[in-house]
Symmetry: D2
Subunit: 346 residues, 4 copies
């Protein structure tokens, strides 16, 4: 850390900062400029130290030098991590596509849409059973029944399944049915949930909060990693901005920034960013071109009957075409499409 | 709702929209302009209807007319609601001030700071026992032990206490110790937590998410209200913006907008918005001038030893002066300061 | 427009709104719901009408139905417009690449860098002579001398040139030297400049303001189009967001949204969005994958000596590789790279 | 400046950075930590140096220590500056109120509204003659005729006048009529205009751009100050955010931050932030409570006939009441209302 003293800070204030730095077990290093004194604090390990020094009299600000995440950083792990979920790989050279409906509605639709996305090129099946909805009057998901239907569809099709978990108390339950947990944007800083998943021993798809900086996002990944779960896949899904033409602004620059700072795989979710199906293919292709390792995308064959997010669901035929275009784009960039795993239906 | 058809929408598409509107139990009302056909859907009650209609072919967009919240709205309840918490009132003519440290650290500091804020004019004591921290390596709070210390300090000083609850599973535990739950910004859309608090029968201080629109915020209040808990106090605490001089941008306009749309009391939290104690008094005064019913503010007598958010904590003497200024400002606006309740120490 | 009356609006207020609508030369169409009356105003042409109706007593809000831009809209011109600049085409099937230094510094560097970008695949040369700089103490550009050097380099290499114009009063001067004007993000709502360029008879590269919605952006294009200049090329270059890892957040979704609403060509500028050269290739590729018609990118062979924006300039070799990757990506998407025009050096 | 080297930066890279720092006329100061080397560059005066060092190989980032503005800073001028405009003072203990219509429409309305705001407590008259409008089809102002009407109304009422200037080329013309220039939010980074006003020898009301950080804003003030014009009054008028209930989000925290960093007076403009008259009083009071030196507010007696921004104009009676409340609030905070100057009608 670098402690920047205020112009006119007294010698006593400077001495007190130095003393406090040393109490924290750090070395200090003073540099007096014409207008300001700057004090390096060397050896810092704890984010809390920044606030302690900022609270001291005479201090203008404290500039952290080290990034606050460790296990998530490329400095800790230089090579790309590859996360494997029941035979599907994320973070290797292949592009992996997760698809399915927003919510599990019933057995018949899971079967029908699952079949369509498998045929179209998906290697993992998604479907929400616990739905975080802005309105208390909206469909909240089928709960455990939904998980059973998702699992059954995945098994019949030979696709691993991913579904969202909303609370620490549900991790055990959800974990009984899914191959991969999803933590949604609204829960990116639900730290109790992150800790629980850190101990759950199953991979997690951790979506970026729609108002989280990339640093805050990687700190959330750090919660999971620091509890021993190294199978974290990240996912950019759009941030809040002043633009109202889209539901969220897909921050495509997050992909190369995360790749620079971290070894973890990154997907993009074009559906929640776009909010309208017409925009989904362009955003999906942009994400892949920016370096993402795959996409997670919503598909529904009868959007006007969907209990959730019908306007942003791709039709099965649109999905098939999109996968085809992603395949060509991936090839142009020296990558390929992930193929369905050899896992057989039970 | 108003369904705006695309320019060039076909008669069949228009007929299908009308049919679907009527299937939803609504009346339709068609208006054909020179360029576009517009279809009113009258009688809409469910937010889900908007997505169903948006998903139809030929539809450009759907404009909701009714606000999505009901119980939180002034149309439902025209007068200001007054929420009473162990004798302290929010939403009446008086300005109520909640103060205390960011986190409960130990018995001695709770006692010391509690005494200082009581002397300075606070009518409720705050202190975090479960802390949501961006970094897994930061102090996470004392948990139940912290709640006990907070309760003890409140009891000795005759002040009701408020503390944050992070998960639905903790509501029962936290409810044993506090007079008022706090739901923090990161949990504003933790819908399971909101549902649980809706059934817990104790007042809640529900903070605005830092990326939530006012509509989304009032929908979260609706979750609590719709489960039968009408004692909801709102709190603006800053939103994310591009400005980096403050931790969050206090959206002072949220106060009059919420007062226009809703009957619920509104506080402001100048501490988390500012991030630096120098800015706290100006933001507190601005919030009250904009019409807030009180503030919740962090105070610490030894900020450099604070385990959490030391730089934004007011010193006790600064707090006393701020309360004094709030009192004069409130009087100028025809309001007064809330006085400590008659509740006696046990 | 749809006028939504407040709940409880009086008959007199409703009648007054109807009267006012008819005074404006529009037809009115009343729909009384259970809670609110809604009045359609049919035939509206002028944006000003919205504010007039919003100002009336009893009106809650006015929802515009028609988009505010006309000449820029796909409804006015269904096919993609192709803008040709001295033989270089924007908006057709080919991807066109503009490159060059941030600022013209001297004859020798323009020559050197110009030669490098021409060899690397650029079909137009950029270079700033009038530089909008945040600080008054920074290099402000060479002015007319810079334009002469740019023109000379372009002529020798057979590349048309584009450069920024900062003020209406400079349009004539800059127009003497360039093939295409550039209007920068900070001037997107410099309406006097837009009007002047609307009459100047030369193509314009109009960048999006970093806080402009897509609608506001297309309204700025409308200023130019409505004065008779139809050769407008748009350019997404990043917007302000809360994220601090990049200089601006590239809003890649703007590309498909603009393509949906407008017939005008769209480029992306990855350099100003990224702010760091490492991120430029990913953003350039993302923009093309999202459907952009080309890029404008900064290149410098000695970034540490650059008088402006050295950290975001690609090295010539990086540029060459990027063009190669764009070419492969374009081919995968059924497009090709624009080849240098047949225009010969003078 | 502090140059943070990448982890793994080579000795040659470090040496090259030191060499470059010294070539720039600065002293270097090296500190080697366990993971990173940090190099202080002492004596930096020019913002450009940051980019030069950032462009060097092995550099992770450069952290500026000094604020980039000088003449605008409190370090340059510790006391509050008081700007006097024809007898009206900004920045002293008194609160000064500027009011008038959005646009000058005709002689009769200027007279009528001018009289109303003078009676209500305004000490300066505003009115736009050159209007920056998002749509080319909206009313663009009366130009010089408007300035004449504004001047005539001000003279008759004994009030100085302020009006917006849109372009460097108009400074001389506008300066013939007004006592104070206004530079609008859209022109905050129109650097040619700022330079011209820096030489014009008349005070300027410089509004904050709606996407400008406070640092960028103070740099724009620096453009004016550095040309010799020290009569700069700042004005917070709302920034872009994701919230759609208001036209712009009034960043009330900008007031204390600017007061901390700069000696210049600061107003708030509640009208453009709110966009709706109901919200204007709350925002005006919040701004004053946060420490602003006054407000500029739009007033119209027939909003539904206004050619511009009718929905946000206060009615004269609302204005009178607001001034009364500001007076009481100012008194509570130890300030008073500015009284009309002794300047007599001609």
């Amino acid at each position: 850390m670098i402690v920047v003293m205020k112009q006119g800070a007294t010698d006593a204030q400077i001495d007190h900062v130095i003393e406090r730095i040393e109490q924290l077990g750090l070395r200090s290093h003073v540099s007096r400029g014409q207008f300001r004194t700057i004090i390096g604090a060397i050896g810092d390990k704890q984010p809390a130290h920044q606030q302690i020094l900022e609270a001291l009299a005479g201090v203008e600000r404290v500039v952290p030098i080290m990034k606050p995440f460790k296990l998530a950083s490329r400095e800790f792990h230089a090579e790309n991590s590859v996360v494997e979920v029941a035979g599907v790989r994320f973070g290797g050279p292949e592009i992996s596509i997760i698809a399915g409906p927003c919510a599990v509605e019933n057995a018949e639709m899971m079967e029908r849409i699952g079949r369509a996305v498998a045929a179209g090129g998906a290697v993992m099946l998604r479907g929400g059973a616990f739905k975080p909805r802005t309105s208390p009057y909206d469909f909240q998901g089928l709960g455990e029944d939904g998980l059973k239907l998702l699992r059954a569809a995945g098994d019949r099709l030979g696709l691993p399944v991913v579904s969202e978990v909303l609370a620490a108390a549900d991790v055990e339950l959800v974990g009984r049915y899914v191959d991969m947990f999803q933590v949604g944007a609204r829960n990116m800083q639900n730290f109790q949930l992150l800790k629980e998943i850190g101990q759950a021993g199953k991979p997690v798809l951790l979506k970026r909060g729609f108002a989280a900086t990339i640093r805050e996002y990687l700190m959330s990944a750090e919660y999971v990693l620091s509890r021993g779960n190294h199978n974290v896949v990240l996912c950019e899904r759009g941030i809040k901005s002043f633009e109202t033409e889209v539901r969220f602004t897909l921050d495509v620059s997050a992909v190369p920034v995360i790749k620079e700072y971290s070894h973890l795989p990154v997907l993009v979710d074009p559906s929640h960013a776009a909010g309208r199906r017409q925009l989904v293919p362009a955003l999906a292709l942009a994400g892949i071109a920016a370096g993402a390792d795959g996409i997670i995308v919503e598909v529904h064959d009868r959007p006007e009957e969907a209990l959730c997010d019908g306007p942003q669901a791709l039709l099965p035929e649109d999905f098939r075409q999109l996968v085809d275009r992603i395949g060509r784009l991936a090839a142009a960039l020296g990558r390929g499409l992930s193929r369905p795993s050899s896992q057989q239906p039970e």
